[in-house]
């Protein structure tokens, strides 16, 4: 089952990345929708593993992305989906297996009919929406996007793991909100990377990061990191405000979103502190 989980993990990420590559609104939306369904497959397989005591991890291989035309990446996604379908034989939950298999059939049918288009997501032009930033601002934005796109992926995986292993409904609610928020940020940052021609898949996350041993410490560190992220967003907003009001507004928007993340993490911290007091 772990192999199946790894395969679904890889195809989910590749499909998400391919959505950033497309400039066609309908294609982009289809690929985003499919990637979201694939992520749900991932969580369902993970849930199967937990319920059945099957050991699993979030390991995966590097995913080569660089293509000149969209059809190249679509063919690769189809090949991966075919491999996932073959691997479904290891899943003895027939309802789950049938659901994934039927989804794959539709994905492949649809992907085969998506028109190809040239891809500029790897051209390293490093301009965004025609805005010419200074070299310093461009470098700062580049580093920010690589750091933060990984960070959002890391947070999705950590909160997903915590959610999968939580029984308390309030904690599940908090972790789900944080997952959704990180998905939104990952989509925005990924799209900006593609627009700048520097798209890359976030690197893999080490097991010791998502198997959180000290959750109180993790949440405290997480709150501090959110505070630092707020400062970084403020710095970036200031750095680009002369060249682009739109970008500056976006970084202010992300900055203010972090306040709610901090409030949720404090709520979760309170829960764990109370639980520790009871024990």
């Amino acid at each position: 089952m772990n192999r199946l989980l790894v395969q679904v993990h890889e195809v989910w990420l590749e499909t998400l990345m391919s959505a950033f590559m497309s400039n066609n609104t309908a294609t982009k939306q289809t690929l985003f929708d499919f990637s979201e369904i694939m992520f749900r497959h991932f969580t369902w397989i993970e849930n199967y593993c937990i319920k059945n005591g099957v050991s699993y991890d979030y390991e995966r291989n590097m995913i080569p992305l660089k293509v000149d035309n969209l059809d190249a990446i679509l063919h690769d996604i189809i090949a991966r989906l075919n491999r996932v379908e073959l691997q479904l034989v290891v899943c003895d939950d027939e309802a789950l297996s049938f659901r994934i298999s039927q989804d794959i059939e539709y994905f492949i049918y649809t992907l085969k009919n998506i028109p190809s288009e040239p891809v500029s997501a790897f051209d390293m032009q490093r301009t965004i929406n025609g805005i010419e930033l200074t070299e310093e601002a461009t470098d700062a934005l580049t580093l920010f996007l690589f750091e933060e796109s990984y960070k959002e992926y890391e947070l999705i995986m950590i909160y997903n793991y915590l959610k999968a292993h939580s029984k308390d409904i309030e904690l599940v609610r908090i972790f789900q909100i944080l997952i959704d928020e990180s998905f939104f940020h990952l989509k925005r940052f990924g799209q900006m990377m593609a627009d700048m021609g520097i798209l890359g898949v976030p690197r893999t996350i080490a097991k010791e990061l998502y198997v959180v041993e000290d959750i109180v410490e993790f949440l405290k560190n997480g709150i501090n990191e959110e505070l630092l992220a707020k400062e970084e967003c403020k710095r970036l907003s200031d750095a680009v405000s002369n060249e682009s009001k739109e970008l500056a507004k976006f970084f202010d928007f992300v900055n203010y979103q972090e306040n709610y993340h901090i409030a949720l993490m404090k709520e979760a911290l309170e829960f764990y502190n109370k639980a520790a007091d009871v024990q």
């Binding site: 390991e59 590097m62 660089k66 390293m124 461009t138 580049t142 750091e147 990984y150 520097i198 010791e208």
Partner: protein, 148 residues
Amino acid sequence: MDAVLLEHMMNPKNYGVLEHSNAEGIGKNPHNGEKVIIFLSVSNRNNVYVIEDIRFQAIGCMTTVLAGSIITNEARGLDFDRAEALVSTTLGMLDSVPPEEAACSEMVALALQAAMDTYKERQKDSEFPMITYKISQNCTPQGVDINE
């Protein structure tokens, strides 16, 4: 930021776990818990140890990944003498870069040194555990810290 650096950022070379490694080493920042693990597949060609394959994983920032991608790419195919020269050269350049970047490169270089030292120890004791070196302000390896 040039195209070569961007390429390493978009597609870090040698990132991940090496399934059949025969030596591993860790470079660690004791101040913030960041670390780099390097996996080596080493062959012994008439007592000359050669790095046939190499991978790394990092708990750290993008600069660490960048340093890991560049250094491991350089180290692939080198014998230990030349790889140790690469480690020395990297450590020797740290004074000329900003402290946070120096710490990242030092962590990767020390992880590589730790992996090579682990391999040498395993020639005497095949069960020898993975070695960890901690980075330091003055960029010199501190004592050996086994499997911390």
